[in-house]
């Protein structure tokens, strides 16, 4: 085993997990809400980028904002439809609605884009770097850099911004937040738009590394859920480190045992952690950390 290469692979994969999970981290922390349509929103982001490049001939850099905008819009539409359930914090209904929403997105995408695997032709894939025994592409570096920027920005906004403090107020007590003259519907809408935009951004950066297919959403949702929960519900830094840990674990376990069993092995470790530390690794956390 090329240990250095696996280490680098793990770090890249970890950042990919963390970036994919960042929207859900905010969603779960602030709206106390799970989005089981998250994986399909990831898929849609990837396919929007592919379709923009394929159908219009626009370059990769122009496909990214198009996909992010679509993601934000989809998130906002989804939230509008669920606003009443969100304000009532009706979690069971929300789980079913988001799950169903994901299935509709997947079905629609299958009809629109076909069921064959596609490849997002990112020019960054062609730039490779060889450093001793380690090989990586500019795409890999972009994933890591953008992930770090996104987490630093989210952390700063949550800790110091007025909007961030309103999101934290909504997370703690939405009813009391109304009494501060804040329109909580708008806050929820913003959180969902961010969730949609962030997962689409993750898709445009992470998905070009492998072929994409319209049925890939489910695998994404499982790994994202694990990262968010392991990181400690709603903890921004916690999700980052949980993503990194999952990436390293996946890389080394995949190399030593086999990539097929990574998800099962991850749960073998996660279930005891959840039982012993129900709040996740960063328990007693808050949104600003």
């Amino acid at each position: 085993m090329n240990v250095w290469q696996q280490l680098v692979n793990g770090v890249i994969m970890g950042h990919a997990y963390a970036l994919t999970a960042i929207g859900w981290t905010l969603l779960l922390g602030a709206a106390r809400l799970v989005n089981f349509g998250h994986g399909q929103m990831y898929m849609l982001g990837a396919f929007m980028a592919w379709w923009v490049m394929h159908a219009t001939g626009l370059p990769y850099v122009a496909a990214i904002p198009a996909a992010v905008l679509t993601g934000a819009l989809l998130g906002a539409v989804m939230q509008r439809a669920m606003m009443r359930l969100t304000v009532q914090q009706n979690l069971v209904s929300l789980m079913i609605v988001t799950l169903g929403f994901g299935q509709i997105v997947e079905g629609t995408a299958g009809l629109a884009f076909g069921v064959r695997p596609q490849m997002i032709a990112s020019p960054l894939n062609a730039w490779t770097l060889q450093w001793g025994p380690v090989l990586l592409t500019a795409q890999d570096i972009a994933v890591v850099v953008v992930t770090i920027i996104m987490f630093l920005v989210l952390r700063a906004v949550m800790a110091h911004g007025l909007i961030g403090s309103w999101v934290r107020m909504v997370a703690e007590d939405p009813r009391l937040t109304q009494l501060a003259g804040v329109n909580i519907s708008k806050i929820y809408l913003g959180i969902f738009a961010f969730e949609g935009a962030a997962v689409a951004l993750a898709a445009t950066l992470v998905a070009p590394r492998t072929p994409i297919i319209t049925s890939m959403g489910f695998d994404e949702v499982i790994m994202t859920f694990v990262v968010v929960v392991l990181g400690g519900v709603g903890s921004v830094s916690g999700s980052y480190f949980a993503g990194l840990a999952m990436g390293l674990f996946s890389a080394f376990f995949g190399a030593l045992v086999g990539p097929t069993y990574v998800t099962a092995a991850a749960f073998l470790i996660i279930i005891p952690i959840m039982v012993l530390r129900p709040g996740g690794l960063a328990s007693a956390g808050g949104l600003s950390r």
């Binding site: 007025l162 403090s165 309103w166 934290r168 107020m169 703690e172 007590d173 009813r175 009391l176 109304q178 009494l179 501060a180 003259g181 804040v182 329109n183 909580i184 808050g286």
Partner: protein
Amino acid sequence: MRAALEVEKLSVSYGGDPAVSVPHLALPAGTLAGVVGANGAGKSTLVNGLLGWSRGPARASGVVKLDGETLNGLPTYQRVQRGLVLVPEGLAVFGTMLVEENLRSTRPHGPEAERRAFSVDHVFALFPRLAERRANRAASLSGGERQMLAIGRALRLGPKVLLLDEPSIGLAPRLVLTLLLTIRKLADAGLSVLLVEQNVRAAMEVVDHLYLLERGRIIADGPIGAMRDDPRIVEAYLGSTKA
């Protein structure tokens, strides 16, 4: 004088019969009025209903006018923005946030509210104890400090009319009077306040006007001088130590 707060045919229900029904209520500007009554009389339901707000499934109907402006029909947050501000009973601070964050993130909406609003320093001057604890999480505050913070947050919003729901609950007797005297000071400075209190004796020390609520209805009201001798008040709340 024009009423700071005027209510017509207010009715609040939890699905069935109205829990509170108030045909008319007018709070003159700069007045500190008390709302007293037994547990379950509907005191909280009344003040929450003025904002169309509830932690439960309550529905309010009727006319609510703030300084002549009709508020009914507006969502809660817009009524707050117009200057009708409520400090609800119990959990009225954000426990995970620092004391100072609680005050900074609660801020006036619009230039008009800004003119009335207290600055964070002004709140600290009113409640020096909060200044000492500014870097503590609100969850670590004592009951009295939490009430101060809750009122401080409300003042940050620049209220025209302040509704206070049982600010003295769970406080030591000495603190109750200090808190009520601070509220008196705010009213003397021109703020109109509707104060819900279960501690009738303490409330009567500071209010100008008293409403007695029973089973969701105002059964007596008047200036404090007259209400002090009202047999219903004396009998039910002041008991043998008749003043």
